[in-house]
């Protein structure tokens, strides 16, 4: 491939070109094999320091990034805190500048506030990788979803992908929409009207409130996690009503294509988004997503670390 990677940071999929996305996927493909070896370690990032800077609780994404970095021989530091404690004392920028002063190479940040990784990217020199910012983007999740789809379907262009759930608050939905539409998929978003952000069709997606319509003809169904703590707020319907209307069960699966892929970014609220028989059923690629997450994150770490070296 002619394209080379020139970005210090990975902040979103919105600004990536089709070629850049393809490059990450190809790179991930070559890294996937490392995790299948008995000795799962390569020296690629030896001597580099990676900081995992997590302002929101996370098990899956943090572990996935940590393993990705460790399998490439990087040194890892974990910082787990929450955004509200920082607002009272040191600012995000000050904390970041202190970490920068300790001469680290890559900062992976998750934050409950949309745009927080951008604040770091413009003020400090280490590479910044967005591991999820508010309701904005979660680029590595988008990439690993696309990687998993591609493994099964061989291509993305022309596929019908339905994303179902709380679209308004979902960074996974936004990164999937950007990545999939750039690669030529036809994306449908489906969820309760209260959780559908305004003018989302301008991102080039179809909007429906009818889950049957979203299931029929879909090559891929990506079920978003709903945040149960939002229940009781005006925007969220009662959980049982949500589950009946938008949850995926064996009954609704009768409308699905025979070779449909069922995805979920995890962690699953069993019985709400997916019944166990669907989550664990033959169409489910949910655990493959988790496996692929490491390969995709290794690829991203590798690509951004290369840019930094060139700058030095």
């Amino acid at each position: 491939m002619a394209v080379s990677w020139k970005r210090k940071d990975l902040l979103d999929l919105e600004s990536l070109s089709t070629e850049e996305i393809e490059l990450i996927l190809q790179t991930a493909d070559s890294f996937k094999e490392i995790s299948q070896r008995p000795i799962k370690k390569v020296p690629t990032l030896r001597g580099q320091t990676v900081v995992l800077f997590f302002f929101e609780p996370s098990t899956r994404t943090r572990t996935s990034f940590e393993l990705a970095a460790k399998r490439m021989s990087a040194d890892i530091v974990n910082i787990q805190t929450n955004a509200s404690s920082l607002t009272k004392g040191e600012t995000l920028k000050d904390t970041a500048k202190n970490i920068e002063a300790m001469k680290v190479d890559i900062i992976i940040i998750r934050h409950s506030s949309s745009g927080a990784p951008y604040l770091l990217a413009e003020s400090i020199s280490p590479s910044i990788i967005n591991a999820g910012d508010g309701s904005h983007e979660h680029p590595t999740q988008g990439l690993l979803d696309i990687f998993t789809i591609k493994e099964h379907k061989k291509k993305i262009s022309g596929l019908n992908v339905s994303i179902i759930g709380d679209i308004a608050h979902s960074r996974v939905a936004r990164s999937n929409i950007w990545g999939l539409t750039k690669l030529g998929a036809k994306v449908t978003v489906c969820g309760p009207a209260t959780l559908m952000p305004p003018e989302i069709e301008r991102l080039g997606v179809k909007v429906t409130y009818d889950v049957k319509e979203a299931i029929e003809g879909a090559d891929v169904i990506n079920m978003l996690r709903i945040q149960i703590e939002r229940q009781g707020q005006s925007l969220f319907p009662p959980i049982r009503d949500y589950s009946m209307k938008f949850g995926l069960d064996a009954e609704k699966m009768r409308y699905a294509k025979k070779d449909v892929l069922i995805m979920h970014p995890g962690p699953i609220n069993r019985g709400i988004e997916l019944t166990p028989e669907v989550a664990d059923g033959p169409y489910s690629v949910i655990l493959e997503q988790v496996t692929n997450g490491i390969a995709v994150r290794m690829a991203v770490l590798y690509l951004v670390s290369g840019v930094k070296k060139r700058i030095e």
């Binding site: 955004a83 949309s114 951008y118 508010g134 305004p198 989302i200 301008r202």
Partner: protein, 433 residues
């Protein structure tokens, strides 16, 4: 000292003047405005200033500023706010009540007058709160506040959410002839919102403030005004439908007035892209369609006033996550230099229309006698503007103590070169006296 402003293009809409004239100032009053004032009529010691090629206006009046004194003197003071005002051609400003402590009693109104007099650069008039502590619960002592000389009442920064309380405030303030300035926002609809709700908020994953939050309160307040028969002025109109609601009300004979701010006729929600906290303001920047509607409202007179909503914030309140950043931007130094290209050059307004909205109408609405006019005997508050001057906004050259503006790096068209307050030259070519 007497001053003769020679040969400038005088725009004095209160007296239907829009042509080349001389302006003679004697002591603290306007003595005469006429073509080629004869040497015989000019006191010998008068200082003559050549204004050829420049515009001469009555001093601008800003109905909406936040000067942060007392409580946040690190962000602005009467002195630094006055300097920003002079650089923008403003000779009088109203300062809002949301200071710490709040301007919600007679003593605080007196404090604003006595402390701002120490700065001694421009006329500063306090707006007092509608409710104690801006809490929306209990009316302030409006009678005593009026007696102390507050020019209006407002809980600006917040709405008075309880319609019954606003109704009684309007009825009570009517006795003293004080207008109520309304910040129109339904707090339930805008809860936790940080920018305009629409395509950009969807893209950025930021919580939106629906335009409806403003519109329903504009409509509510117009009806409360009708019910009470009091004077109501709607602050910082930003949405197309709000302009339409005011237009309809005026057609129905309701004497409501309203203002917009420069950012609402020149910026859209696109300014937020990249999570630019300097573009975070309340009400939020909206869409191109709204900008067009605001311009139309200015052109047809539905919008009476251009105010700045000058809202200084320290760097530490802006250089944070977008969700946590304070809302607001400074505006005193830029208003006229933005109106010049955006409204005058693009033929939305003529000069007289603009000065009506920036001087004549504010003086009328808040009942400032002898201001907003260059008639003989008026206060000698005058601004001289070089419409052709160009400059670039630079942080270090901003007079306001705070630098929070999305205009850094932007080319400005036109600069105030001279500002006279009460017959004294307070600002001339970048220098303050």
């Amino acid at each position: 000292m007497d001053i003769l402003l020679k040969g400038g293009h005088v725009v004095d809409p209160a007296n239907n003047i829009d042509s080349e004239m001389d302006v003679l100032i004697k002591d603290d009053k306007i003595e005469q405005v006429a073509k080629n004032i004869k040497a015989s009529g000019i006191p010998q010691e008068a200082k003559t200033i050549d204004c050829k090629g420049k515009m001469v206006f009555p001093g601008l009046i800003d109905m909406h500023t936040h000067l942060r004194q007392p409580g946040r003197e690190d962000e602005e003071t009467f002195l630094t706010g006055s300097r920003a005002a002079l650089k923008g051609g403003f000779t009088s400003v109203l300062c809002m009540a949301n200071t710490n402590p709040v301007i919600d009693n007679k003593g605080m109104v007196e404090y604003v007058y006595s402390e701002s007099a120490k700065a001694g650069l421009i006329n500063i008039y306090p707006v007092a709160a509608v409710t104690k502590g801006l809490e929306g619960k209990e009316l302030t002592e409006i009678g005593q506040i009026a007696e102390a000389g507050a020019k209006a009442l407002s809980d600006d920064g917040k709405p008075v959410m309880n319609a019954e309380i606003l109704r009684r405030a309007l009825e009570y303030s009517k006795m003293f002839g004080l207008p109520v300035i309304s910040h129109c926002e339904d707090m339930n609809l805008s809860m936790n919102g940080v920018m305009n709700e629409g395509f950009v908020s969807t893209k950025l994953g930021l919580k939106g403030i629906p335009r409806t939050s403003e519109i329903v309160m504009v409509m509510r307040d117009i009806e409360l005004m009708r019910l009470s028969g009091a004077r109501l002025h709607i602050a910082h109109v930003s949405a197309k439908e709000s302009v339409e609601a005011v237009r309809e009300a005026k057609k129905r004979g309701i004497k409501v007035t309203c203002e917009t701010c420069p950012h609402y006729f020149m910026l859209t929600e696109d300014a937020v892209i990249g999570f630019n906290t300097n573009a975070k303001v309340n009400p939020p920047l909206r869409t191109k369609e709204d900008v067009e509607a605001i311009k139309k409202g200015l052109a047809d007179g539905v919008i009476d006033v251009i105010a700045t909503d000058h809202a200084p914030h320290s760097l530490e309140e802006k250089d944070v996550e977008f969700d946590f950043a304070a809302a607001g931007m400074i505006g005193l130094e830029f208003a006229l230099s933005l109106a010049n290209p955006e409204l005058i050059k693009s033929k939305v307004l003529g000069w007289s229309d603009l000065i009506r909205r920036m001087a004549v109408n504010p003086a009328k609405i808040i009942d400032l006698q002898g201001k907003g006019s260059l008639a003989a005997g008026s206060d000698a508050d005058v601004a001289v503007f070089d419409a052709g001057a160009e400059w670039v906004v630079e942080g270090k050259r901003i007079e306001s103590r705070s630098k929070n503006t999305p205009l850094i790096g932007r080319k400005m068209c036109g600069a105030v070169v001279l500002t006279i307050v009460g017959g004294k030259i307070k600002y001339e070519n970048g220098k303050f006296n």
